[in-house]
């Protein structure tokens, strides 16, 4: 078997071809190194294309009061101060440069009257901050970087006579394992879906940029790719995951018809003036403004409506609260019997904007509702409800280099990395997260390769990786991967979902362990070639590790914060804010340990009004006033 495998040697292997992976690859190639980009799907199809609203960067093009410090504060507030401060700081400082850089690669963002990049309002952002292209910003981002990689290949074609000599895309390849030798990363192993043949990538550095975990849940805005592959690959390679209890349920997913349940309805609908109402016609969000946000959000309709024309003298409408608040509010309205026929609430933009403007600013939303639900959003309200959208938790990394803690040669960026968003991500911060930390992961990997050199893969390591791929075919009449996946989704949806309790989480942990046991007996029909059942066997293994990490971290955290709500511990607790949960894998089960959250340094502490910090921090922390 190992005699036939395809072998490649690169300086750096990037797993994942979404925004973060492509940005890392560009950085590495521009630094002179050779790069393999491994995509799970075709090149250019990654989940980044689904990002609609925009990319948050404090360019100050629409309101020149904006700057990195305001953006940093908004990000920390959104994350309920559980963010790794250094990541939030780097992100806020570097985001504008990353957006402008895209323009030099051919991106065409929407413009202001002065011809600058236009910026739109979004939940949790104090000023209009999101660079956008209608409601297809993610597509613009991925296409721009895809074309940037083509440009680099064309240059290599001119310089070396082979465009793929130094940077090559391996589409529809599934990585099943990160290989190590002498305790350090040595490469990655996987198989090509088009023919089932196995592939070895030898490389001293691997960048994981595999995105999220949404498919672990029943109702999600994520595509089939979001199965936590990188989270699991990292765990198995000896890295840690941080804060896996925090999952973002986007407040507005489609709820009807059933076949589209979960598909994202962009926050831009609210940014552009969409309002949320219940079945009684009440604009209910005014009832759900938490104390920590009372001075920033309007408590009456008149002021909320005035904000759209005069943002300096009015507070923001509560529809634009951070996503966790809005998702919980919708959940409560539906539970109280004030939901729509299909279990959602109404979102209406037709009363504020003309049909022409809606079609121009929200073209894909109009299209999506018209084609899939038969609803014309320029005339009627949409029905929406929460959908599993994003995982804040992820690989524990060093903020500056994106190096995974505990594994030399491993890097992680984008959704698969943890820390940046704390307990809740603000809309628009994801796209710039990809760019800022994708670049940093590329830089980190380049520096590592230059100082460490090669680390060849041994035959025994190779044989072990190959045996694992073959396993599902060696069994007959075992478990069906599709059924196990559905069972897992039911468990996570019912027991580890938007509202959690200790008893339910305990039950979930037991049930996930049972499925894990049964999954060892999965058998597969057909052959290896483009076989989705075979593929799901690997995806399922990844999702099980993610679900276990999430459920176990969630059980430990006895408070409610951001994307983690405990019915039995409803309040936010300042003591819990000082703690990160670190998941690791011992080969059989996930173990969780508590670790102190890095303390805000004085210069960042001082960016806040101390009375605001008092809402989040303990008196001892306040009296210390930061770390130095």
């Amino acid at each position: 078997m190992t005699a036939q495998i395809e072998r490649h040697k690169y300086d750096i292997v990037v797993i994942g071809a979404g925004g973060a992976g492509l940005r890392a690859a560009v950085e590495a190639r521009e630094a002179g190194l050779s790069v393999a980009i491994v995509c799970k799907s075709l090149f250019g199809k990654a989940h980044t294309v689904m990002a609609e609203g925009g990319a948050a960067a404090s360019m100050g093009n629409v309101n020149d009061n904006d700057n990195w410090m305001v953006h940093f504060r908004d990000t920390m507030r959104g994350g309920k101060f559980l963010n790794h401060y250094r990541m939030a700081e780097l992100h806020a400082k570097e985001a504008p440069d990353r957006i402008w850089e895209l323009e030099t690669w051919g991106a065409l963002f929407d413009r202001t009257k002065e011809g600058k990049i236009s910026q739109r309002n979004f939940g949790g952002h104090e000023y209009p901050r999101l660079a956008h292209v209608g409601d297809r910003t993610g597509l613009e981002l991925i296409r721009t970087m895809q074309q940037r990689i083509v440009a680099l290949q064309q240059k290599d074609g001119r310089d070396f006579g082979d465009p793929e000599k130094k940077i090559r895309v391996f589409a529809e390849v599934t990585i099943t394992e990160i290989l190590k030798e002498n305790g350090k990363v040595a490469g990655a192993y996987g198989y090509r879906r088009e023919n089932g043949e196995e592939v070895l990538f030898e490389a001293p550095a691997v960048v994981i940029a595999t995105g999220g975990v949404g498919k672990t849940f029943k109702i999600t805005s994520n595509s089939w790719e979001g199965t936590g592959d990188g989270h699991a690959l990292a765990l198995k390679a000896g890295a840690n995951l941080v804060d896996m209890e925090f999952l973002q349920f986007h407040p507005t997913g489609m709820v009807w018809p059933l076949s589209v349940k979960g598909i994202l309805v962009t926050e831009s609908v609210r940014g552009e003036g969409g309002i949320l109402t219940n079945s009684l016609g009440e604009r209910f969000m005014f009832k759900y403004i938490p104390d920590v946000f009372k001075d920033k959000y309007a408590d009456n309709e008149a002021e909320a409506d005035r904000w759209y024309v005069d943002q300096d003298n009015n507070r923001r409408p509560p529809e634009l609260l951070p996503r966790d608040e809005v998702a919980r509010a919708i959940n409560s309205e539906v539970k109280a019997g004030r939901g729509t026929e299909h279990g959602g609430v109404f979102l209406d933009v037709s009363k504020r904007l003309s049909a022409e403007i809606i079609k121009k600013r929200l073209p894909s939303m109009w299209h999506q509702f018209y084609e899939l639900a038969g609803v014309d959003i320029t005339k009627e309200a949409m029905e929406v409800g929460p959908t599993c959208h994003y995982v804040m938790g992820g690989v524990e990394v060093d903020p500056d280099s994106a190096a995974a803690v505990g594994v030399d040669g491993l890097f992680a960026a984008g959704e698969v990395a943890g820390g940046m968003h704390g307990s809740n991500r603000l809309g628009g911060n994801s796209l710039t997260d990809l760019l800022v930390f994708g670049r940093r992961a590329g830089m980190g990997a380049v520096a590592y390769v230059k100082s460490h050199g090669e680390n060849p893969v041994s035959q025994s390591t190779l044989d072990r990786a190959a045996a694992r791929i073959e396993a599902p075919f060696s069994r007959v009449g075992g478990e069906n991967a599709y059924s196990l996946h559905q069972e897992l989704q039911e468990i996570t949806h019912n027991l580890v979902g938007i509202i959690r309790t200790g008893a339910e989480l305990t039950e979930a942990i037991e049930k996930i362990a049972e499925i894990r046991k049964r999954s060892a007996n999965i058998s597969v029909t057909g052959d290896r070639k483009f076989n989705p059942g075979f593929h799901l066997a690997f995806d399922l293994d990844n999702m099980l590790l993610v679900a276990e990490s999430t459920a176990k971290s969630a059980l430990l955290r006895e408070e409610s914060r951001g994307g983690h709500t405990r019915d039995d511990f409803p309040g936010m607790n300042s003591t819990w804010r000082q703690v990160n949960h670190i998941s690791s894998f011992d080969g059989e089960k996930v173990n969780i340990k508590s670790q102190p959250l890095p303390v805000l340094p004085k210069e960042l502490f001082d960016l806040f009004d101390v009375h605001e910090l008092e809402k989040y921090m303990t008196p001892e922390e306040i009296s210390k006033g930061g770390s130095n």
Binding site: L42, F43, G44, K45, H47, V49, M50, P96, W100, E101, E103, T104, W105, G106, L108, F109, D110, R111, E114, G115, S118, G134, L139, E140, R143, R148, V150, A151, Q153, Q154, G157, P163, A171, E194, S223, W224, E225, W256, P257, L258, S259, V260, L264, S364, H367, Q368, L372, A373, N480, Y482, S483, V524, T525, G526, K529, F530, N531, P532, G533, F534
Partner: protein, 253 residues
């Protein structure tokens, strides 16, 4: 409201494939991709289909449904009559890998042949100023989700393998038009290269590509025809021809 659907699905490769009859339940509001997934989960665990977003945004689930090139995720089952048999086949212009999955690498090779965007050397990041109205022309083409339905339906290559070498196809004509109309791109010969290197002249504007585009990009009217017209202007107008020769000599064009 469940109904029972009769499907005929292509199984196998293009050498040894055949249509297979399947009967499957469908619920109200479902799209063809939902049905394919149900067939996968209950009857054909190894049925190969490409898909990602299931929201018409990634362009992965391109196939032919009753002979029409379509995205399976945007095709409502209710569009077909109760007793109609729905036939699902892979894209015809590309080699079949397995079942409904085709080898679309042709398109990625063509993408590599279109010279990349070139930013003005003296324009620093953040300095660009463009009018909304000027970016909108190229933005229409940048809506492309690369589903390759236009490539698949284009008769220049659909049944003419021999034309693939010299013809980039509608997807790359809009890419060339996008760069041609990009307010900042400094490469000035996009139209000529469309004509001379990418086979623009082989298109005889039957508009089949525009008809199948799920993003409703006006490929023929807004990209192909304007480029053809201007290529003709330069090529056949004696004065403009002379002008272009002089400018070329002086390194302007």
């Amino acid at each position: 409201m469940a109904r029972t659907l009769k499907l005929r699905i292509w199984r196998g490769s293009d050498q040894d494939g055949a249509l297979q009859d399947v009967t499957v339940e469908a619920n109200s509001g479902e799209v063809v991709l939902d049905i394919i997934h149900r067939v996968q989960a209950t009857q054909m665990g190894d049925l190969a289909v490409r898909w990602n977003c299931k929201a018409g945004k990634c362009g992965s689930c391109s196939m032919e449904i009753n002979g029409k090139p379509r995205l399976a995720c945007m095709t409502q089952v209710s569009a077909y009559a109760e007793d109609e048999v729905i036939t699902i086949t892979p894209l015809r212009a590309f080699p079949v890998i397995k079942d409904l999955v085709t080898d679309v690498s042709f398109n990625y090779k063509k993408a590599l042949e279109v010279r990349a965007y070139e930013h003005p050397a003296d324009l620093a990041p953040g300095e660009a100023r463009m009018e909304q109205i000027d970016v909108e022309r190229s933005q229409e083409f940048r809506k492309c989700i690369e589903c390759f339905l236009c490539q698949n339906t284009c008769h220049v290559i659909r049944d003419h393998e021999e034309n693939k070498k010299s013809f980039a196809g509608p997807r790359f004509f809009i890419r060339l038009a996008e760069l041609d109309m990009h307010p900042l791109d400094t490469l000035r010969n996009r139209k000529q290269s469309a004509q001379e290197e990418h086979g623009l002249g082989m298109c005889n504007i039957t508009k089949c590509c525009t008809e199948v585009c799920p993003e409703h990009i006006r490929i023929t009217d807004n990209a192909i025809i304007p480029m053809k017209e201007r290529v003709v202007d330069v090529k056949y107008d004696p004065l403009r021809w002379l002008g272009s020769v002089i400018r070329k000599r002086e390194g302007i064009l």
